[in-house]
Amino acid sequence: MTENIIECREVTKIFGGLTAVNKVDVFVPKSSIFSIIGPNGAGKTTLFNCISGFYTPEHGEVYFEGEPLRGKTTDAIASMGISRTYQNIRLFSNLTTIENVLVGQHHRLRETWVDAILNTRRYQTEEKASIQEGVRWLNFVGLQGLGNTPARSMPYGAQRRLEIARALGSNPKLLLLDEPTAGMNPQETLEMTALIRRLRDEFGITIILIEHDMHVVMGISDHIAVLDFGLKIADGTPKEIQANPRVIEAYLGPGGAALAKKYSRNK
């Protein structure tokens, strides 16, 4: 029995009259890649926001390593080891790439403003070590030699990778990736998939993924949860999800399961 790093128990988030996420249970085992899929508006990003502390769920509770997250601020949650990226890239665009990663490391450093003014030993060593580590992360995501480029002047794919480097800077145990391959060409998508896999294999980071590209999802996920209209309609390994008639209906409409069966027989 593997330990769960994240447990969402009956998480419910309501906006006005709309129940965006409805009593969703999600259990994510440690060091796994967990995908959340579902049609547009299914509540995937809302669930992400509940985990990272942007929203407080109306009912239910999110546990991170057994600890409830209710009442914690987003920065406290980030300090516990949850990092995320965003569906529409949100970098600190006027800062350089290395500075973006350094901000990611913020909560791990101890130097204060007094250290900075007095130029203490702690300031110097921390600054040097954090820059070194930041460069390592930049190299890891494939942005070597771009450390002093302003984030805003980087191409789209590089910005996505920089977002991941910034998230890695905080040395997370859990990484939430919101559509990391959106808008990428097949080559870039392939590279991104490899990168995500390496994060789990080399660093043991747990990854929760929102993704629309089924090649990616089925290729790298250990587990998949499917949301539709705020409800979790399926949960399991990629194979199980592919065979689940409710999932197929959610994507293809009523009668979709029969259609899919017929279609695959013809093939």
Binding site: S52, G53, T73, T74, D75, I77, A78, S79, S83, Y86, R90, F92, S93, N94, L95, T96, I98, E99, L102, V103, G104, H106, H107, E111, T112, W113, D115, A116, I117, N119, E126, E127, S130, I131, Q132, V135, R136, N139, F140, G142, Q144, G147, N148, P150, R166, A167, S170, L190, E191, A194, L195, R197, R198, M214, H215, M218, G219, Q242, L252, A260
Partner: protein
């Protein structure tokens, strides 16, 4: 084609002519002329300007028109460019001639336009006609423009002549070559050059306050205080991105702390300068902290309005009857004792040194903070507060810290200012002063030290120097701001992030290895293909 370029030149001239008429009607020509006259020690005033001063002004405008016109016809031959400048000169001269023609008529008919246009006195109009009788004055005006525009055209054409090519090249590249030469030396040589530069700068700073007299010490001292405030506000607005409008309130708190602790009336506490200085900084910082607590929930426009209110509350409190017995009310506090050195009261030179020290300290602190974890946290908050939080930055803490440190800077400036002027009143704490500091960092360039220096000189130093032409200060100011917004929307010196020295890492994860890794295991099957 021919018609077009002549028409263009004519239009350029008309524009310059209209500008000229406008300048004359508000006596700007007399103002500029009197500034020029001051250089050669000729007396010239706004009401009865010296003829030479007005001619000098007209020649400058004419030269400008000629140069502009010739530059505009870049692709034409030299002769045509000269013709263009001539046409420009004649059309602007024509307008100038019409204007002084009207002046001449008024002089003959004895009409005094002073009732409508306050600047147009009879001697002024007389001077605009170069004190020449009849048609001569009008013609002289016309030919001033024509000739100076032609000379302007000659300058442009001459500058582009082949013979000057090498000189032109040298002048254009001089700064670049000079810097390259400085950088080409060995590391040790560069270090020596750096130290020599700093030593020279130090000697210059040490000698200047002794040499240039009390007026300049006052002007530059005021600029220095504004630099400190600009840096403080830059921490709040430029780095942490909180638009705080009532910034002058912190200055007031610092100044009043100094005043109440070191003036005979109303309290006669006489703490001495240095303890009061420390307390002034601490109290201003405390005010920043207390103001910051309720502000943490606000962003953008709401923050600006609330801080604006805070500034006004402080000013109105200082002005009110309520606090008259405590802080002097509208009359302010007078006779503030300054610091002493070897039993002597601080002279203007000593104050200058004190301000230089304070500016150096402020610049040092600002610079250290900017490139630290704290500074990066501020910048992250400025860029995207939500994301900064989710990245692990305690935004409330850092926003408060920015307010506290920024307020401390203002407290320092306020305390020195109160001691230097030996007076502080509620009149100095107006909203305009807050906006001035904000303008200073916007004009100079948000979030960097050279920009703040330049902004302080442009907004506090220049108006001080132009004091005798007081009427035009606001005009020049407005024009400067409008021009800034069009030409350099990011300020005179836009901020740039530092280039950090990055270590070379040995095994880089190149994209090719990533691609290989991706080929490990393609997805087995796909449900929706």
């Amino acid at each position: 084609m021919k018609k077009t370029y002549l028409r263009q030149s004519f239009d350029t001239g008309i524009i310059f002519g209209i500008v000229h008429i406008f300048c004359v009607l508000i006596a700007f020509n007399a103002m500029l002329g009197s500034l020029l006259a001051k250089i050669v020690n000729v007396t010239s005033s706004l009401t009865s300007p010296a003829v030479g001063a007005l001619i000098a002004y007209a020649v400058i405008l004419g030269l400008w028109a000629g140069i502009a016109s010739a530059l505009r016809q870049r692709e034409l031959s030299d002769g045509k460019r000269l013709l263009a400048s001539l046409v420009t000169g004649s059309s602007s001269g024509l307008l100038a001639a019409v204007l002084v023609g009207i002046f001449q008529l008024m002089l003959i008919l004895n009409i005094n336009p002073r009732d409508y246009l306050t600047n147009l006195s009879l001697p002024f109009m007389q001077a605009c006609l170069y004190s020449l009788p009849g048609l001569l004055g009008i013609l002289a005006n016309f030919f001033t423009f024509l000739i100076s525009a032609f000379v302007g055209g000659l300058l442009v054409v001459g500058w582009n002549l082949h013979g000057f090519a090498s000189i032109r090249h040298q002048i254009n590249n001089a700064p670049k070559n000079w810097i390259a030469k400085l950088r080409s030396g060995s590391a040790k040589k560069q270090l020596i050059q750096k130290y020599v530069f700093y030593a020279l700068l130090f000697v210059l700073i040490a000698i200047l306050p002794l040499e240039w007299g009390s007026y300049w010490n006052y002007v530059i001292g005021t600029v220095g205080l504004y630099v400190i405030m600009g840096l403080g506000l830059n921490i709040i607005v430029g780095l942490s991105g909180q638009l705080v409008l009532g910034y002058i309130a912190f200055f007031a708190i610092g100044a009043y702390t100094m005043a109440l602790l070191n003036a005979p009336i109303p309290h006669n506490l006489m703490w001495g300068f240095w303890p009061a200085l420390v307390l002034a900084i601490l109290l201003a910082a405390l005010a920043g902290f207390l103001l910051g607590l309720p502000l943490m929930r606000l962003r953008g426009d709401y923050l600006a309005i609330v801080t604006l209110g805070f500034g006004e509350i402080i000013r109105i409190l200082l002005n009110s009857d309520l606090l008259t017995s405590f802080s002097g009310g509208p009359r302010g506090v007078q006779g503030i004792h300054g610091p002493t050195i070897f039993g002597q009261v601080f002279s203007d030179v000593n104050y200058m040194y004190l301000i230089i020290l304070a500016v150096a300290l402020a610049m040092y602190v600002y610079n250290r903070l900017q490139h630290s974890r704290t500074g990066r946290a501020w910048l992250a908050i400025r860029e995207d507060e939500t994301v900064a939080r989710a990245t692990g930055v305690n935004t409330n803490k850092y926003k408060l810290l920015a307010l506290v440190i920024g307020a401390g800077f203002a407290g320092l400036a306020g305390a020195i200012s109160a001691a230097m002027n030996q007076f502080i009143g509620p009149g100095d704490q107006s909203l305009m002063a807050s906006i001035n500091v904000l303008c200073e960092i916007i004009v100079g360039g948000m979030g960097n030290i050279p920009g703040t220096l330049l902004g302080a000189f442009a907004l506090k130093g220049l108006p001080e120097l132009l004091r005798e032409v007081e009427n035009f200060r606001m005009l020049a100011f407005g024009a400067l701001l409008v021009a800034m917004m069009i030409l350099r929307p990011e300020g005179l010196i836009p901020s740039q992030r530092p280039t950090l020295e990055l270590p070379e890492e040995t095994p880089p994860a190149t994209s090719s290895t990533l691609t290989d890794a991706a080929k490990i295991k393609p997805p087995e099957e796909n449900p929706h293909d």
